[in-house]
């Protein structure tokens, strides 16, 4: 029922949505989230991103998060795909899609999965930052306190 995948190739959001919706007559609600590479972060122009992960742990962590979401809400299909490796500005990093008979459950589960993923799934972003002088440098993205704070609403 769950599709959980981590790969280096570009995400295909249309295909992910089609898999959630195809012949799914029981669920009237589908909530989705797509995170992609912004051109600006923490005051600097971003030229691209490389995503490192912990191969053995990543899928295990994502499966645990999705299982917890299923324990909280009545969900139909769950589809969670995360890209790793190098990627360009505007390319998709993560797709989360959740179907349910109920709109509130679909929204809540989609947001819950993202909030948990952001704080515990072993991914690390390294940005290529363009300085005003034209030089490029690599910079590890700092974790945000706000991501930790978002978790509290699910406690």
């Amino acid at each position: 029922m769950d599709r959980i995948d981590v790969h280096e190739t570009p995400l295909d959001v249309a295909a992910e949505y089609a898999a959630l919706q195809k012949a799914n007559t029981a669920d009237g609600a589908c909530a989705m989230f797509v995170g992609s590479v912004r051109d600006f972060n923490a005051g600097s122009a971003v030229g691209g991103l490389a995503l490192e992960h912990y191969p053995g742990m990543t899928e295990k962590s994502l499966r645990a998060i999705v299982a917890d979401a299923r324990g909280r809400w009545p969900l139909g299909r769950v589809n969670l795909v995360h890209r790793v490796g190098p990627m360009q500005v505007n390319e998709e990093i993560v797709f989360v899609g959740v179907t349910s008979p109920h709109r509130q459950a679909a929204f809540a589960a989609c947001q819950y999965i993202m909030d948990r993923l952001k704080t515990e799934a072993p991914f690390w972003k390294c940005e290529t930052v363009r300085r005003a002088c034209g030089a490029e440098e690599e910079r590890w993205v700092e974790a945000r306190a706000s991501d930790q704070a978002e978790l509290e609403k699910w406690a």
């Binding site: 295990k60 799934a121 072993p122 390294c126 590890w140």
Partner: protein
């Protein structure tokens, strides 16, 4: 034998992604002390409250036990998504 992994910024700071330790048994905290004793220049990076730990690919705290055959990973706060 214990397998120890480091990721992301921490991997770069330590200049090492993986090491193997013979004959260790104790907690995550004592494993960290053993590593900092062996590599004193690691202390400022490894002995930091922000650093997260996973034992056998599950998040763990400093009191978690580590024994032969375990895989222990140290890494900075995650930033995926």
């Amino acid at each position: 034998m214990i397998k120890v992994l480091f990721f992301a910024r921490l991997r770069q700071q330590l200049g090492m992604g993986e090491l193997r330790l013979e004959d260790f048994s104790g907690t995550v905290r004592s494993l960290c002390a053993v590593l900092c004793e062996r590599y004193p220049q690691w202390r400022e990076h490894l002995d930091d409250d922000a650093i997260r730990v996973a034992v056998n690919q599950e998040l763990a705290d400093s009191d978690a036990s580590v024994a032969a055959g375990d895989e222990v990973a140290f890494f900075p706060p995650v930033t995926g998504g």
